[in-house]
Structures are given as C-alpha cells and as structure tokens.
Amino acid sequence: MSKPLKNRIEQLRVAAASEADQRIRRAVDRAWNEYRHTKEKSAPAPVWRMIMNKKVTVFALAAVLVAAVMIGVFPSGPAQPLWADIIKPVMQAQNAELTIIVGEPGSGPEIRDQVLGSRLRRTVAGIDAVSIIDLETSKILSLEPNTKTATLIDMQNLPKIPNYMERLRNLLTKLEAQPHFEIEYLGRQTLDNGREVLAMNVTYEGGYIFMAIDPQTYAPVQIDQIEGQMKILCRDIRFDVEMDESLFSMDVPEGYTMQQTQLDLSSGTEANFIEGLRLWTQYIGDGYFPEDVRVESYIQAAPQIGKRIEASGLPQEEQMKIGMSMGSYLLFIRFYRGDGPWTYAGRGVPFGDPATPIFWYKPDKAEPYHVIYADLHVEKVADEATLPPAPEPYDAVPAYSPSRAFGGIAADAEIATWHIQPGGRVEVHSEIALTVPEDAPAIPIMLPYPQGELSSVLLDGQIVPFTSPAEGRYEIPVMEDGGLKLLCVWNLPLDALEKNEAMFRIELKPLIPAARFELHAVLEENSGYVFTDSPDQRQMTLFTVEASAPDAHFGSCGLPISPIQ
C-alpha cells in the first residue's frame, strides 16, 4: 500500500464535539461512581509461588536482598510532621508487620517484614531463607536452613536512617514538603481483603500514593506507592504486635557455615551500571540486553536470574560477586540523579554493535549527554538533536514473563533432530513451537555453537528470510504475532563438539529459550558412524525435558557414536 493512501486513511479522524463528549462523560461519571461504591473484592492468585519450584540459589537470595533492601530507602528531605492525625500512629509505633509487593499483586515476590527497632526480619515468599537486616550496623544476616548456610552482607554507605519505622515516618512526613502535594479523600472503602478503611490518594511531584487507614485508629493498613517508575505496595500493615526479640538476633546459629561479602550502596555509578549490563548479557540474557532496566522488573525476575547464574556452573563465591555487582547496577537506577529522565533502548538488542545506542542520560545540567552503546562504550553527545529517538514506553507486560526477562521470545517446545551425515557434518532440524508477543519486531535465535551456520528457516511451512546481527545470532522478522511453528535448519562440523573416548558432548541449548526440549540423533546412510552400544539402530532419543519455565540451557548430554572400523 502506498504511503500517501495509508496516511490519508490515518488522518481521517473524528474530534468529539463537546455535546458528544458531555453525553459520554455523564455515562462514564455514573459508571465511575457505581464502580467506586460497589467495588468487588478479588484477591489475585499468588503466581509468584508457582514460579518458585526450586531451592533458592545464593545468588538469587543476594539479588533479592540487595534489591529489596533499597525499598523504602528514600532520599532524605525536610521532615515536617503535618497531617498529624494520620501519621500519629506510625510516629508512636514500636514495631510493625507488613507485606511488601514490588510491581503488581501476584506478579512479584511478596516480602514479609517484621520490624523491631533498627532490625527487620525479612522473608520472601517462595524463598526458603530468612534474613535479619540491621540498619544500625548496616548488616544483613541471611540464613538458609536447607544448606545450613549463613551469609553476612556488610552494606557500606547505607543512608543513615535509624530504623525501618523511621523510613515509613520519613516517607509520610517528607511528603507534605514536596511540591504539588495534594490529598484527595476518597471516603470509606472496602479493601480486597474485605476490610473497611478510609481511603485517600496522595499525589506529589514525581509520585503517587494510595493510602488506606483504619477508620478508628487512623493507622495505615495499606500504602501503594508509585515513585518514578517504581511501584511498591505495602499491604496488611499492623503496628505494635507481639514479637519475640530472639527472632531478630544477628548471631549465627550453631551448625551453620558462614560466608561474608560486602556491598557498597554508594556505588551506583555509570561504571557499575555498565558492568551490570555486561554481566546481564554474559550470564543472564543469552547475549541480549534486558527488556527494561527498572528495579521492579529486576526484583520480579530475581529468582529466575538466580537459576540462570546457577546454570553457569560458577563457584558460589563468584555467583555472590555477580549478585553484588548486579546490586550496584540497580543502585544507579534506584538513586538516579541525572538531569532529566534516562532513556533505555536496549530491549531486544544483542551485545556487540558499537553503533546501536542502548541507554542515554544527562549526568548533570552542565555535562553533555552520555550515550552507552551495545558494545558498552560510552560517547558524550552535546547536541540533544543528535540523540536517537526515544523508544515506545515499555508498558505492555505487567506480569513477569521469562521470555521478557531474558531478552528474547520463549518457545513452548523445541524438538531438535541431529542428522549425522557423511564427511563429519551434522544437519540439525530444530522444530520450534512458539507464541510471538503482539509487539515483537523479530524472533531472535542463537545457535549453541559458534561454528554453526543457519541455512534455512521455514515459518508455518513457508521459507522466510532472516538476518544475522552477530555471529551465531539470527533474527527472523515477525510478519504476524500469535502461535507459530518454526523449522530452523542449521549445520555444524562434528568436530566442533567436545569429545572423549566414548562419546561426543552436546550442549542442551534450544535456539530460543524453551519450556520443553527434545534431542534426537539420526545416523544418515554412509555417515561412517554407528551408535556405540546399539550398532543396529539408526536413530535414538538422547534427551527430553519438560521444565516449569522456559530455559536456554539444560546442561549437556552425550552423543554415543563411534566411527565404523
């Protein structure tokens, strides 16, 4: 279709006449008022718990803790206690219990905190560990009963806030000093859990809070906050409950192995951020940059990220180091201090191209823009007009999705058949069933071996073109979203595989992260090989797995073939 005709159609627009607007608006107002008064109760299912089906890794725990400890750490501001009736119960409380959800209910991990003085006892739903956080000494003691491991994290340069209650007070009291501070009282409402409350919207520059308070005591029972791009929901808040002080002890229990590490909370520099991006592409994103770099996305994905790191086979100490580096990476975004907003354009971009910008920001009014490219070099750009156009806002995926977290698209299943051919060649047919998200521009695939070469791609039986943005990586343009069947034919020399006396070793890596993965081997005529223990067989199933979530690496397996003597 020619562009002028397309443009013409798109320009045939309607502007609502004021009468029409008023008529629609009246109906909308009525519906809105009814909605407010008859809001139905619905508690979302804790999807998060279903994701967690494996013991937590030390990395995942570190990642969650490091990220989570920043929740509630607000930049210091003037604290003038106003709206006193509402904040009085908080100001006087000695201890509290609350559940923190980062992101949407049901999509992120639920963090349950018990607060006593300067100490927090924190558990994260689905993670079999408990952490005691002492804000006075800036230490976290994390205990994993399964492995009897105690990890002591020494946080350096933690902002000086004596205790968690103080954080809450700080939040509530500093709000009023913010520009554009406004409270809209919403009256009596019923929360999802059936509790009757008084509700209000609090808006201020750069943030928004929905607060529900007890009608009798005025104590907050729910605080849902959006600040910048971060969303934190505090639910089920209770003050002055009975607590056993021994639960807050920082002593390592008997029988536990102790390990220690450090985290500098002032280290959220550009260099830390870049290092975090590098680690992401190397260990987490299969060579791709993250879908987005918001803290809440990271926290939501933390346990899955932990599994990826675990799959790297690195020693636990190394895993912990990566966890800490990722913590510093998050600090850059969490306490971002640049002039104007940052822009991230790395979604779906593979590491390596020195001409593709993935992130830019202005560190200071007096400084030029810093542009980070896909090979992670930084250029300074003085002229705003030469900056790349900002990508579409990333708002389409409220819930955590593994495919999003790992920079590509996840497949439902991949069946890979390795055809061993004469001359020591292998032709692999990878049949992939996948559902392409609505807004995906291309399907990225990655061959498990650098010596591999993609020869053809069939989409629902039709040959389709593909491009190769980097060695071993390919992109298939998406013509349509939805359920698709992809057949990728690729080749590699047999000697690209690691070999011992008995067999070759095959890396179990689907071309696209997949939940189900099968690997079969077929010996073609005159291949010159036989299956070592079954010389009469021509084909063999080597591996099958059905995982709870898509993965890009299932380890390795043997290809038990020997040359015909």
């Binding site: 005709l5 309607v14 029409a20 009525r30 519906a31 409402q189 509700a199 609505e438």
Partner: protein, 182 residues
C-alpha cells in the same frame, strides 16, 4: 503523560483523574473507529460510551496484557458489530443497508480537510463492512491481522485478504476506474 499501565493501576485505586486521562487520551480515537464502522455519529457515540462504561465495570479484574489502544479498539469494534446485529433484528432502517448497500453520506463528525479526504471517505463507505473493518482496525486501531481475524471470527489469511481487497478497491475507486458497487 503517565504510562497507560500506571493510569490503570491508579484508576483501580479509585483515582478519577487517572481514568480521566485514559478517557481523554482515547476518546477521539475510539470515536473515529466507531464512526467509520457505523457511519452514524450518534450510534458511534453510544458504542464508545458503552466501551468506557464496561471498561470501568471490569476495572477490578482488568489486567493490561498488550496495548490499551488495541484493547479498546477491539472493544469498540465488537460493540459496533453488536449494534449492527441488534439493528438488523429491528424493522428496516438506514443501517440495514450498511452491510452491503450503497454509500451513505459522509458522517459530519469526520474532519474533512479537502476534496481528497471527501473522496476517500466516500470510497471507504462503499467498502463491504468486513473489508472496511479490516482497513480501519489496521490503520486506526493498529491491530495485527491475527487480532482482526479473532474479532471477525475468521482465519488470519481471510482477514489479511479482506484488508488487501479493501485497499485495492479503495485505490480503484479513488482512481475513478471501479464501479460503485461490490
């Protein structure tokens, strides 16, 4: 403007202003689709009103899984189809001609800038409903063919063909080479 997701989240929390932002952002867009599909500004307003009312009623359970614009566009297209069905069950009226009849005069609510716009609008109105729907949803709703197919209860290929035929017919009509009837 805040992202749609945050606006929805705030709306769920009872923030009327957040919902107002959604309303203002998409009102004209939805009216455009409805007017093109129904060719009756009054009915189009009813369709859009119904979409907003139902959207509010389902806010509690609503989860945004794609673009809000595409979601609301689908809702309005479904609403238009329902209206046409309801109309067809009634005694004959002007809209009964809609599915296959000759072109209606251009709806006054569409902004016409020049003669080319007027001719294009007249040509669009001559397209059979499903072709017009495919063209409008593709270009005003930003919908992919799979979504259009779901909405029309057909296959993706058929939806794509309807769009292609629609565009070809528009070209023919605009070039003055085609007949005025399908």
């Amino acid at each position: 403007m805040l992202e749609d997701k945050i606006l929805i989240w705030k709306s769920k929390g009872g923030d009327r202003q957040a919902f107002e932002a959604i309303y203002q952002k998409y009102l004209d867009h939805l009216l455009t689709i409805a007017v093109h599909l129904l060719r009756d500004p009054a009915l189009a307003e009813d369709a859009v009103q119904e979409v907003f009312v139902r959207f509010i009623q389902s806010l509690d359970t609503f989860e945004l899984r794609g673009s809000l614009k595409a979601f609301l566009s689908c809702c309005v297209a479904n609403g238009c189809r329902d209206m046409l069905r309801r109309r067809q069950r009634r005694p004959a009226g002007p809209l009964d001609e809609d599915m296959a009849g000759p072109a209606q005069p251009a709806p006054p609510a569409v902004l016409i800038r020049d003669e080319q716009d007027r001719r294009l609008l007249a040509s669009l109105n001559e397209l059979p409903y499903e072709q017009r729907e495919a063209v409008i949803l593709r270009h005003h709703g930003g919908l992919r063919f799979r979504k259009i197919a779901e909405l029309q209860g057909t296959t993706t290929k058929t939806a794509q063909s309807r769009y292609t035929y629609g565009i070809e017919k528009l070209r023919t009509l605009l070039n003055g080479e085609g007949s005025n009837h399908e």
